[in-house]
């Protein structure tokens, strides 16, 4: 008898099983790419402000404190819906602009990044775009 539990069989199952589930995952990914155009607001991206805003979001490492659609750090509020929470893009811009350079004694405070008006417009456009993505009704309420 060749043994009731052979390393060869275990190895073959590993390779076969992994390949198999990878294929299933790729099929799901393919379907994902088919469906997300209905949800991701990609037509908004024709506005170059959004790409510029995303870059500012990245190069100032906003995700190091905030979450965006729930992903990021948990030190500062969720920003996926911040335009909705604050009521307007203008309110968001005003908040970013108003941050004191030396912080608030004893409290967490967002740094003063010294953005230009154009930068602020771009960031607001980006956050507005994210707030319009269909995120399956997340977050549960406006507080994020």
């Amino acid at each position: 008898m060749s043994g009731s539990f052979t390393t060869t069989t275990a190895r073959n199952i590993f390779y076969g099983g992994t390949l198999f589930f990878l294929l299933v995952f790729l099929a799901l990914t393919f379907q994902n790419e088919q469906i997300i155009p209905q949800r991701d607001q990609r037509e908004m991206l024709s506005n170059p402000q959004i790409a510029a805003g995303k870059k500012l979001w990245e190069t100032n490492n906003c995700v190091g404190c905030h979450t965006l659609l729930g992903e990021g750090a948990y030190f500062a509020p969720e920003l996926g819906n911040v335009v909705v929470r604050m009521g307007s893009k203008e309110a968001v811009k005003a908040f970013i602009q108003s941050r004191p350079a030396e912080g608030v004694p004893g409290r967490r405070s967002m740094p003063q990044f010294g953005f230009s008006d154009q930068d602020l417009d771009n960031i607001a456009a980006f956050l507005d775009y994210v707030s319009k993505i269909n995120a399956a009704k997340w977050p549960p309420n406006v507080q994020g």
Binding site: S2, S4, F5, T9, I13, A27, Q31, I35, Q38
Partner: protein, 207 residues
């Protein structure tokens, strides 16, 4: 090893650290495939339970959508899978008596039935896709497509394994004394069948 004790894997547990409880008298086939089968059954089991709960929460939708499925195609496919399983079981029975050629023929028949399942299923999918149905259409179709597609992939994997077993049978790798590999492949194939036995009534018929 004689055919009747073939599956009763007699081991000295002390010589096999780990898995000893499961290792003793496990069903025919390699223990490794049985661990894998249990994992697969668990995944399907959870999938079925999630389907059932989702249906419970939205009976109207599920009952309204279910009649759109092609029950006859589902039934034909059930018979094809059962036939494939039966052929594979007969192939194992044949090799237990050393009838290698007969065993290989039964395997071909089994593979043919399995391939038939895929063809029927593809026609079924083609009709659904032509109607513009995808995973985002609604919850019922999401589950229908997910469950049947996941199972479809398993049929393909099962067929790959059966073809490998068939090639080895033709090459004379199995005998009445040693057909461990064939039993391993057969066990996996029967699992694919078993899952469909639950899937078909659940998704296609019961309301």
């Amino acid at each position: 090893m004689s055919s009747n004790t073939a599956s009763i894997a007699v081991q000295n547990p002390a010589a096999r650290p780990g898995f000893s409880l499961l290792d003793r008298y496990h069903p025919p086939g390699d223990l490794a495939i049985w661990v894998f089968i249990l994992a697969e059954l668990l995944a399907f089991g959870v999938f079925f339970a999630v389907y059932a709960v989702a249906r419970m929460k939205n009976v109207e939708l599920f009952n309204a959508m279910q009649p759109n499925l092609d029950r006859s195609a589902g039934a034909i496919n059930t018979v094809l899978l059962l036939a494939a399983s039966w052929c594979v079981a007969r192939a194992v029975a044949a090799i237990e008596h050393g009838r290698r050629a007969a065993s290989a023929r039964w395997l071909v028949a089994g593979i043919g039935c399995g391939a038939g399942f895929l063809v029927v299923k593809l026609f079924e999918y083609a009709a659904k896709f032509a109607a513009g149905i995808n995973l985002a259409t609604n919850d019922f179709y999401m589950f229908y497509l997910s469950l049947t597609f996941f199972h479809f992939m398993h049929v393909i994997l099962g067929l790959v394994i059966l073809v490998a077993v068939w090639l080895k049978t033709r090459a004379g790798a199995y005998s009445a004394a040693d057909h461990h590999g064939m039993e391993t492949g057969a066990a996996y194939w029967h699992m694919v069948d078993l899952v469909w036995i639950v899937l078909f009534p659940l998704v296609y018929v019961m309301r």
